[in-house]
Symmetry: C2
Subunit: 588 residues, 2 copies
């Protein structure tokens, strides 16, 4: 047996992580997964339609994304629990992207949505190939919380028009939607309002009080599942009410309209749309958000079962799911928190539960699609509202404020940016602010003017020790690597010292704690050297570590420093730069 053949099963398992759980898959596993899958489907059918409408797309585009894409995810994922499909935050990002007139000029909303799904899938696959899974480490928790709170508030605002029966617009910022609602306050449709309000109340009842009551009687987590099946009940009841009272024809209640039965015929027309380049940056942001939110949910559940999440496998699996979604006529997909929890609590053991849910949705599309034609949009709006309200967690802000005010500021800035500038600009602003806050906290280098402890070769901070110094010589020690984030502080410190001691002719930077000098710091150092040379001060270096000196040599700094020199030890610098009798040591 050659090594290649012996390795094959391991390699295959690395390509298809599903093999690790399919091996040894039992009948009892299947019955658990099947039940959980069906329960999840109850929640997924209304949510998928609602999120498609939220994205500005026909409801079936959400259902299409729920059929084959979760199976593609299941094959490649390391998470056994994550339920993948249309999600609210990604849907509203898609809505904002598709609201751009220049994007719309290139083709239909659906076509552009498919391009977004395809591109974000390809981007995720490329990231997987480049092993960029660790990119999740750049997303701080307060930033993500602020982002999803902002998204949730924005989503709530977008659901006001369908709940009031007024015209919806495709807004990018919260100001736009508020202004539009305000202008139409006179045109509220009472029938729609009543239908939406009762759907909302029913959902709240099913989600909270009903569950509490059931849990008191049964004491089981299963009651959570019952609450989550509420949306399907609301969908059914609302449709029945519309049909019985003929609300759509008589009272102008807007319904989702006819949904074609079955999956769409493969139509690759969207590949010819001219908007693919314009959509690329948005696709990258959608991909990032979907990956980061999904892996957080996956980690929560993996920890609870002591399983491990492989970040690069998650990238690949989500990428495959989005590519498959595009080719089966579906919108971009991600891991859904609510459905993942429902599936987990309902006893799902592996990704097979997701495949069962997909099959149920496929059957629904085949046999029940016509039933949804007179489903009122107001009911879907109520489902969305109830789904996103939990994302708005005011107490989290208060807790955060008490723990670390700067992180609370990051959260609030991200939230405000999402509302005022839109999801994409808000996400980027949040990322920038949180990275800046991190750098701000870590970029105050410790520095000291040092002098020699009399009779020794030891140099110490002049503020703490009684050391000898020399009037024309400044010894400054920097206790950190020099980077763009701290070199400005170093430069200011040096210039402030030189401005106060105008007799100084030689400046020695003691680099004993410098492990690295980045290119920005190098540039600033050269500027300092050149400028001070003209001002009559030579800059020298001492105690430079080997690798740092090698790098400086490569950049040619030591030559350009002349007459400044690089000394091995600080004491050598002192000996060389204080030779003339006029510069004999003076104690301070």
């Amino acid at each position: 047996v050659s090594i290649g053949t012996r390795d094959a099963p391991g390699r295959l398992a690395r390509l298809l992580p599903a093999l690790t759980w399919l091996r040894g898959y039992s009948r009892s596993d299947f019955s658990a997964d099947a039940v959980a899958g069906l329960v999840t489907a109850f929640l997924q059918i209304p949510q998928a339609m609602a999120y498609a409408v939220l994205a500005g797309l026909p409801p079936q585009v959400g259902l299409y994304a729920s059929v084959a894409a979760p199976a593609a995810y299941a094959l490649f994922a390391s998470s056994r629990a994550l339920a993948v499909g249309p999600v609210a935050v990604a849907a509203v990002m898609v809505a904002q992207v598709l609201a751009d007139p220049t994007v719309q000029a290139h083709g239909s909303m659906v076509g552009n949505a498919l391009i977004l799904a395809l591109e974000s899938g390809v981007i995720l696959l490329v990231m997987a190939a480049l092993r960029l899974g660790a990119i999740v480490n750049f997303f701080s928790h307060p930033m993500l919380t602020g982002f999803s709170m902002g998204a949730a508030i924005f989503i709530l605002l977008t659901q006001v028009p369908p709940l009031l029966g007024i015209a919806s617009i495709h807004p990018v910022t919260s100001q736009e939607i508020v202004a539009s609602i305000y202008r139409q306050l006179g045109a509220i449709a009472p029938a729609t309002l009543v239908l939406g309000a009762s759907s909302f109340l029913l959902l709240v009842l099913a989600g909270g009080p009903l569950q509490t009551w059931l849990r008191k009687r049964s004491g089981k987590e299963w009651t959570l599942v019952l609450g989550r099946a509420g949306p399907l009940v609301v969908v059914a009841l609302a449709t029945i009410v519309v049909i019985i009272l003929d609300l759509d024809h008589r009272h102008g209640v807007v319904t989702v309209g006819p949904i074609p039965a079955g999956l769409p015929n493969p139509d690759l027309g969207f590949l010819r749309l001219g908007s693919w380049l314009e959509l690329l940056p948005s696709a990258a942001l959608v991909a990032l958000v979907n990956y980061v939110s999904g892996i957080s949910i996956a980690k929560i559940l993996a920890n609870r079962r002591r399983q491990r999440i492989n970040a690069n496998e998650e990238l690949a699996a989500l990428g495959a799911a989005n590519v498959v979604a595009a080719f089966t006529g579906g919108m971009p997909v991600a891991g859904s928190f609510s459905r993942t929890m429902v599936s987990f609590v309902a006893g799902a053991r592996t990704q097979l539960s997701g495949i069962v849910a997909s099959a149920a949705i496929w059957l629904t599309l085949l046999f029940f699609a016509p039933w949804f034609a007179r489903l009122p949009n107001a009911a879907l709006a109520a489902i969305i509202v109830v789904a996103v309200i939990p994302l708005i967690d005011i107490s989290a802000i208060r807790t955060l404020w008490r723990y670390q005010a700067s992180d609370a500021a990051v959260l609030l800035l991200t939230l405000a940016s999402v509302l005022l500038l839109g999801m994409e600009a808000g996400l980027v602003t949040g990322l920038l602010v949180s990275l800046m806050a991190y750098i701000w906290r870590t970029s105050r280098p410790h520095m000291a003017v040092v002098g020699r402890i009399r009779g020794t070769e030891h140099f110490r901070n002049v503020l703490r020790y009684n050391v000898e110094t020399w009037p024309t010589l400044a010894l400054i020690r920097v206790d950190e690597s020099l980077t763009f984030a701290n070199i400005g502080v170093v430069e200011d410190f040096v210039m402030a010292h030189l401005a106060k001691h105008r007799e100084i002719r030689h400046l020695v930077l003691v680099c004993s704690a410098v492990n690295h000098i980045d290119s920005s710091a190098l540039e600033a150092l050269e500027r300092l050297v050149a400028g001070l040379h003209e001002a009559g001060v030579s800059v020298h270096l001492a105690e430079v570590k080997g690798p740092v000196l090698d790098a400086l040599d490569r950049a040619g700094l030591p030559e350009r420093m002349a007459p400044g020199r690089v000394f091995f030890r600080t004491s050598e610098a002192v000996a060389a730069l204080t030779e003339s009798p006029a510069q004999q040591p003076t104690a301070i």
Copy 2:
């Protein structure tokens, strides 16, 4: 004399840094400043008109920005050398902002440009009040180089149409401008091409060979000034050629058209435009870029004269200059590298040189404005091309690549983003990429599984020392503060260890080197604790420093960790968690 009165001069000097150099200002200072100011004006008149046209504005808007705004800067600035006025990079940013159809719908190009100037000025003043001068430390050198190179290449592309005599568009990305040029290749106007090409050649000659020749003969830096006066000569010659040959009427050469004499009457109509909210994010970016580029130039020259730059004073001065620019009908202003160098080399000692230049431009507007009516746009385009070519420094990329490849990647990514996505998106992308590269380099925490050195209370890395360990207990030491940037790595390390040793029931995190736990790390820690609790593993902490423990107490972590505990020393944790006889020490 009360303390208030005694402090007054110092306070006033802090408010108006100009007082520090005005005190003791001599006649010889003035003659030096006056000469330098006049020489700078020679360069500034054509550049100001050219940059206004580059921004898509009438040429006088650049001249208006050169009259009162530099005086406002002079009053508040700590830099004595920086020459403020219209600059190329800010101009092209303004051009891209004004190209947005939704911005144009709100009013004239000029009106929106004034709003941009006013808003960026106010933003700078607010930043000065908040003492945010150190924000410059977030801008890495490779990012800034990539940004200005991308801007320069984009500016070159925008100048191709006026040089070829084809129609200009208002593009945001380089693809748009290249496509537009390609479509019009058949419509090149020969007269314009010849005029543009000869202007370009004359400028190159004046800038390079002529200077070298003069320097060889005189040996003085003054020759640099002569080269910089070239643009004014080109403006004069090109206008004369157009008039003599009647090129504008006979050969379709486009000229700048009539410029009204004098300053505009104060017209605050722009304050009523509805675009102020939409322009705010762009104004913030313009403000940032102008501040960061200006302070870099100011620092270069301050170092050469051993003067200090006060970052917050620079913010205030540039903010005041932009507010004044807006109210005198001018475009946004910033520090100009070329004019600052010309002024410095020409002997400028203080900001009074800038005020002299402003006076010269004011007189030009009063008496010579009609002379510019038949100045061809092609000559202005040639002036722009020659001004921005030095920004494209290919050798800088090569040097950087050799010094630090990751920084070269930051440069190239920023450059590509500016060209493909536009200046704003390019700037933000560059910022993100450079901050991420920094965090990537600094976020690999050192971690170790530790065990007890037999017979002592010392705990050391199991990989390096022969130590005792216990089968159901894992001791993991993290040698860095826990932040969002590294907590993912920590979590992965812990989960990998637990996945390999499935008999472990207690995990102790030894926090002896943890100085801070940020809110993201806290959140991840709670997720780890809760998840592992369900998986049958208790998480404990040991050797937590006082301030960290206080913060954790505030967040209520210790209670939520139960049955996990916080131990003072690692040895106490070992004693408490290995009490049962089944868990006696075993050596490895």
